[in-house]
Symmetry: C2
Subunit: 200 residues, 2 copies
């Protein structure tokens, strides 16, 4: 029996990159199926007063180190995108545009954006960069570019972000199964136990 | 081969309570030995600009729920001490006073403080409460009370807190092996893998 888990993420969240590198093994070994849901972490931070970590504090320094260490543990290449954080809004809208006609292609696109950003350090805040990735996946560049400027693309990302807030999401990555939230790439083990035991 | 891990904690940190409930199994199954090191998280927050979570934000609400869920997962009783957070300074000084003559008794005292606070909801900010726990462990109440007021007890807690800051500690619980920090009750698994693999 497969259990669906919502994977709320932002392309500009380094731990979301680490998390997506673990999903295949959790799908294979724990009967989970992840539904990819990019949202705007910046918009959520505006509502909740949150902020991304910066490397100029003890906590920020730890978190920067921890991202690199956590990626290395699972053999995931890691470089800091430049700039970081980058503007992830347009790439997230592109995800939803692609998903409307082809959900699998949208996930492939999301993986490509993560890899280009954190595996190669590219700036996926630049539409030229992520449009190039879409083209490599066989997605029509002109159609995607046109849709990106439209109200619908904007509305879809806003709806996902509003839903995230309504479900209590304040950070990324966040995994949601039923009403239960699990925050962080390091909580997939606990989530899998939760599903296996039917909660506790 | 046993590997020593420093366990930096504050009695007033709910996740430190969850963490101490896991230590026995990690000592038994992963060849770790924990050195208990209470420090003043309040003093560290003053230096680093940190703050304890409060349940009136989305993030705080999640954290409060997560503490309870994480305790429940390992069968640890959980109630919120009243008040919370409580003033943990004197109990931490008592730990170091006891440790000077009997390190094992100090750990037994720390476990008793955690259990009274989060298993029974008692206020271990009140010296009457934690002195009673010490007496039950056969510790001389008059001698402990006298030492608590002295400069040496104060200096020992301050030294541990200064050391925590010098080693980059900004929160609790924090596990330290070599120069490597692992923050959170949920990182013991990763720490055990780190030790087993000799880092990565």
């Amino acid at each position: 029996m497969t259990r669906q888990v919502d994977f709320f993420f932002d392309f500009s969240s380094a731990f979301s990159y680490v998390a997506q590198g673990k999903l295949d093994s959790f799908e294979k070994n724990h009967g989970l199926r992840f539904r990819w849901r990019p949202f705007s972490l910046g918009a959520v931070f505006k509502e909740t007063g949150g902020a991304p970590p910066t490397p100029d504090t003890l906590k920020g320094r730890y978190i920067y180190h921890d991202v690199e260490r956590s990626a290395r543990e699972i053999g995931l290449p890691y470089v800091w995108p430049k700039p970081f954080p980058f503007n992830s809004i347009l790439a997230a809208r592109a995800f939803y545009v692609i998903a409307e006609s082809d959900p699998r292609a949208a996930v492939a696109f999301a993986r490509a954006v993560f890899h280009a950003s954190y595996g190669q350090g590219k700036d996926c805040g630049d539409p030229m960069v992520f449009l190039g990735l879409a083209v490599e996946l066989g997605i029509d560049r002109a159609a995607l570019t046109a849709a990106l400027g439209g109200d619908e693309a904007r509305a879809r990302l806003k709806a996902a972000t509003d839903e995230a807030l309504a479900r209590g999401i304040f950070g990324a990555p966040m995994f949601v199964v039923g009403d239960e939230l699990f925050w962080g790439a390091d909580r997939l083990d606990q989530l899998a136990r939760w599903v296996e035991r039917g909660g506790w």
